[in-house]
Structure formats: C-alpha cells, structure tokens
C-alpha cells in the first residue's frame, strides 16, 4: 500500500506544481469557467489513457488507440446521431473487434505493437470512409452532458474524478482487475492456476475498447462534430499519460488514478507553455523536457525507496 502511495505522490505533485504555475500566470484560470476551459479537453485524453493503461497492464502496448478514438468519434457524429440503434451496434462491434484482437494476439503469440500498428491504419481508413470530409454532428445528449454546468465543481473535474474512481475500483479493487494485473505480471503462473489467459487478454482489450469508445464520444461532445484525423495525437499522449502517472511498461504495474492525473498533467503542460508564450518551435521539445524531468524524478524517488 505504501509503495502505491509513493507511486502516486510524484504525479500528483507535478500536477499541483503546474497548476500553481498556471494560476500564478493567469489568475483568470482560477475560476469555475477557467478550470473548465483548462481541463475539458483532457476528459477524452484521460479516457484514452485509461484504455491504453488497460493494454499496458497486460504487458502489451496499443498503437492504434488514437485512430480508434478518431473512428469512434466519426461513428458518434454520423451513425449515432442519425440512426442511434445502428450507431450503438457499430460501436459494440468495434469493442468486440478490440476484444478479438486481444485474443488473437495471445492465441498466435503475435507482438501487440505490430498488430495494433496495423489496426491503426484500418481504423483510420474506416473513419475516412465514413466521413471523407470533416463534418457530422454530435448527438444532443452527449453535448448536453459534456457541456453541463453542475453547481460548484466544473464538469471536467467531476468527469475526471469519476473516471479515476471507476478505474481504481475496476483495476485495483475488483477480483477481475487483480487477475488482469497478474496476467501482465506473470501470465504463465496465471494459466497454470487454471485461468484462460486468452479470455483474460480479450477482456482487457475489450475494456480498453469500451474506454476508447467513451473517449471518442466525449471528444465529439466537446467539438460538436468530427474529423477522421481528430485524435491522432492520442496514441502518444495516452502512453505518456500512463507512464507519467506511475505505470510501467513491464505490465501489471499500473495506476488508474495516476493515469488520469498523468493525462491532466500533459494537458496542463500544453497550456502552461502557451501561457509563457514559448515559440512553437520549442514547444514539442519543452513538452518532452517536462516528461523527462518527471520520469527522472520518479527514478530518483524509487531508488531512495528501495534503499
């Protein structure tokens, strides 16, 4: 338990540090509307990060999550809006496809990195087929939900907290979560005990698909219409978010709360760089530096903890 706390301490500290800096530079951000503007676009990123975390948890990596979210966004803006039943069916089929991929990867012993890279072209191709030119419109209820203005706490914050709690219950507290983490940690011993690793991996991928779908829907709710290339950046952002939030590539060691905090930190880092008016030529580099600093700090803290 203590180790988990320590793992969360650093991402939380970096988030608070960045938030403090942003508030100091732009006091206007310290309001209901301000917080909402700062964080509402991180809701779909956080959802995509949780999806990525579920795959990283079983010791794989998903290079298709960005285009998958784009695909889901296109389905949401077209079919789910025009013919809701068909839209739900397509999104359900997409989740099933994700689960099937997980099973296939385990059954045939394929490298996930290759399969998901290939799938990224499939998803983006399907998205372009569906929406050759940017357009479509968001189903009214999604927009209403994403742009709701609940009293006291902005929607973006509520959504992130709910997501973190759900993720925590699912991954850290439930028996299914424990099993899935075990698959990432030591798949062979899980199968020796008599569990089907194929089924477990399919579950992890299927869950990742569910969160990917939610990410696409949330994104369309915010932008009000879709574009096949809308979420290309999410692949790398989600991986960075998982790692920033205390997860590890070795599988089995992930933290849903950390992943959400990681996603928020990455979004905030972008805003921070805009506020200090850093030239765009330096922005990608500066974002990288922030990432490296946090990871280096984590390494130092961990070394000390081991000692």
């Amino acid at each position: 338990m203590r180790r988990m706390d320590l793992r969360l301490l650093l991402p939380t500290l970096s988030l608070l540090l960045l938030l403090g800096a942003v508030f100091w530079m732009q006091p206007r951000a310290m309001s209901y509307t301000g917080l909402n503007l700062l964080f509402n676009l991180s809701v779909p990123i956080a959802l995509a990060t949780i999806a990525q975390m579920l795959v990283i948890m079983v010791d794989d990596i998903d290079l298709s999550i960005g285009t998958f979210v784009g695909f889901c966004a296109c389905v949401t803006a077209t079919f789910l809006h025009d013919t809701p039943l068909l839209g739900v069916l397509i999104l359900g089929a997409a989740v099933a496809a994700y689960a099937a991929l997980g099973a296939l990867i385990e059954l045939r012993g394929l490298p996930a990195i290759v399969v998901t890279l290939g799938m990224s072209f499939v998803w983006s191709g399907l998205a372009v087929l569906m929406l050759p030119a940017p357009g479509g419109s968001s189903p009214a209820w999604i927009t209403a939900l994403m742009k709701a203005r609940p009293p006291l706490v902005p929607m973006a914050i509520i959504a992130c907290v709910v997501l973190a709690v759900v993720g925590h219950l699912l991954v850290t507290r439930s028996s299914l979560g424990t099993l899935l983490r075990a698959v990432g940690g030591n798949a062979r011993s899980v199968s020796r005990v008599g569990w089907s690793v194929v089924r477990l991996k399919a579950t992890a991928y299927g869950l990742a698909g569910v969160f990917g779908v939610l990410s696409g829907m949330a994104l369309v709710g915010l932008t009000t219409s879709a574009d096949a290339n809308i979420a290309l950046r999410y692949t790398l952002l989600s991986i960075a978010g998982v790692i920033l939030g205390g997860g590890e590539f070795t599988g089995g060691r992930v933290s849903p709360v950390g992943a959400v905090i990681g996603a928020l930190t990455l979004t905030l880092a972008g805003s921070f760089l805009t506020f200090i008016r850093l030239s765009p030529d330096w922005q990608i580099g500066a974002q990288g530096v922030i990432l490296i600093v946090v990871l280096a700090a984590r390494l130092l803290v961990r070394r000390r903890a081991v000692r």
Partner: protein
C-alpha cells in the same frame, strides 16, 4: 487657413473612429501549421501589419500562436487558453473546419469575436474569410478566352487528389470550359502543387496529347514544372497560367525577355491573414460585418510582373498585405 486645415483634420479623425475605439482591445492569431513558405509568409505579414497597428495605437496587442503539431485537438486547447487569457478577438487558420467548433462556440459565448480565414470553421457564430476556389479556376479559362478567341485544346494540371481545394479549382475550370465552349480539355494530370511532380506528370501525358495544346490551366506551384516538360519535349510553348510562385514568375520573365511570352498568374496572397486581422478589428469597432466574406485573388498581369518578381523572395510566393481600407472594401462588397 491653417486652423481650417487643422479643423478638417480633426473632423477627419473623428470620422474614422476605428483608431480610438479598439485601442485597448487585444487580438490573437491561432495558427495550426507553419511548415511551408506560404505559411511563413502569412506569419511574417501578420507580424508586420499588426506590429504597425500596435505602434499606431489601433489595438493594444496582436500576438500570433502556432500549434506545435498540426492537430485539431491541440488547436482547440490553444483557443480555450486564449479565451482564458481574455483576448477580445481570435483570428483562426483552422486545422479542421469542424473539429474546432466546440472551442469556437466557447469563445463566442465568452463574447469573443472569432474570425477564421484560409482554413475556415463551420461554427455559425464565427466569421469566415473564404477563398472562392471555383472562381480561381474559372478565371483562368476566361483569361485564355481573351487571349485565344478561337479556342483550342487545354491541358489541366490538378493538385493533390482527394483534397477539397483540388476538386473546387477543377470544378471551376470545367465550369469555365462550359462557359467558353471553344475550349476543350484534352488531358488532365495530378501535379500535387509541386513543380517536380507536375514536370513528371506532364512529361508522361504529353506523347498522348494532340500537337495543338494552346493553354495549360493550373492550380499553383505547378506552372514551372509544366513549362520544363513542354520545353524538354521540344513542343511549342502554350500559354501556361502561373500560380504566383517565385520560380514561375522568374521563368515567365525570362521567356518574356527572350520571346515576348505573355500569360497571367493568380493565387491567394499569404497576407490574407492581415485581412482577417482588419476584419476582426472592424467587428470590435462595432461595424456591421457579414458572417461570410470572400478573399480577393492576387492576380499578376504582364505589366505587373517585374514589380511582383522583385517583391517576392527566392523560393517564396508573391504576397500583398491588406490595409484597413482593403478590409472595408471587402466588407462593403459582401454587404451588397
């Protein structure tokens, strides 16, 4: 006399309220991409014109922001940050016509004026300064009909397949051919708006074309390549409509000096960003501005060639910066 002149000046100053009313206002440019010469020229023009406007006290501030990666989600976040920073107007060259609509709506709801240009947004509350690409295509055929009243065979060089701009310009060219039926399009190739691609494509199709190609209609960035292909094949040089690129203008000048070659050149000036700036300023000033405006083309005719070439940097695009008066003329033109 002196006092009368001064009174006249004072009255004039009162008659142009643009200077006083927006002095405290701040306008930001949200740009999605800066990786080619057109975008670089666009940013330079913005800096030049807004720098002068700030110095003159027309607006308080007009910084430009470019997203690090050409991604709609990133630009949406950038626009939301601008709302937080309290700008009065945001001028946008958008990564996607639709994916920024949510952020643009947030800005409008916060009372911010949003003016999109070049890459426009479809959100109804924003102003759009769009390019009439169809007219750009039609105009070329119209010019050729003036030069070649008897008509003849044309070669069409298209842009990048599947891009909206390519379809629009091509549709305009075909509409032009319908309007001037003495012309027919003998062949059409994709030049991808790049000289080397255009040269290869034209060289490839030339052997299958009739000998009497009288004109080449283009989309910009492909005229020089087409000329090279015609020259290499030893064919008679048709009238190639140019696209304001420096290499195209230079070739045109060389041909003119050598053999009196005549053509015209048309494209959109990167300085359209400054037109968007003045439109935003006019809206802030309380002027009535229609939601949809059309960018004027930058045309170079035979007599303006030397001046245009001189002003265009090597490897660049001919440019023009717009003034407040130009913006007012565009607004007045659209209001009628």
């Amino acid at each position: 006399m002196m006092t009368r002149l001064m009174t006249a000046t004072a009255v004039l100053a009162l008659a142009t309220p643009a200077l006083a009313d927006t002095a405290e206002r701040r306008i930001a440019l949200s740009n999605n991409y800066a990786g080619n010469s057109w975008r670089q020229a666009m940013l330079e023009s913005w800096e030049k014109v807004t720098g002068q406007a700030v110095a003159d006290g027309v607006v308080a501030e007009a910084p430009a922001f470019t997203t690090a990666e050409n991604q709609a989600t990133e630009q949406a976040a950038q626009i939301q940050n601008m709302i937080l920073e309290g700008y009065d107007a945001i001028v946008v060259n958008a990564a996607s016509p639709t994916a920024l609509n949510g952020a643009v709506k947030e800005a409008c709801d916060a009372g911010i004026v949003v003016v999109s240009f070049d890459g426009i947004v479809t959100e109804p509350c924003a102003y759009r300064i769009a390019v009439d690409f169809q007219e750009m295509g039609r105009k070329q055929v119209e010019y050729l009909s003036g030069r070649l009243p008897e008509g003849g065979n044309l070669l069409e060089i298209r842009g990048l397949a599947g891009v909206f701009v390519d379809d629009e310009i091509s549709a305009g060219i075909h509409a032009g051919v319908e309007q001037f039926p003495q012309f027919s399009i003998a062949g059409s190739v994709h030049g991808d708006w790049a000289q080397d691609v255009a040269q290869r494509a034209v060289a490839g199709i030339l052997p299958s074309l009739p000998d009497d190609i009288v004109g080449v209609v283009t989309q910009g960035g492909d005229g020089y390549g087409a000329a090279q292909a015609f020259a290499a094949a030893g064919r008679e040089m048709p009238i190639i409509v140019m696209g304001n690129r420096q290499d195209e203008l230079l070739w045109w000048k060389e041909q003119r000096d050598a053999s009196g070659y005549e053509t015209m050149s048309v494209s959109i000036a990167p300085g359209v960003s400054t037109l968007a700036f003045w439109v935003a300023q006019q809206v802030l000033d309380g002027q009535t501005v229609p939601q949809d405006l059309i960018v004027p083309f930058l045309e170079i005719q035979q007599d303006g060639l030397d001046a245009a070439l001189e002003a265009t940097p090597e490897g660049g695009v001919a440019n023009v910066e717009y003034s407040l008066e130009d913006a007012q003329a565009v607004i007045a033109g659209a209001s009628n």
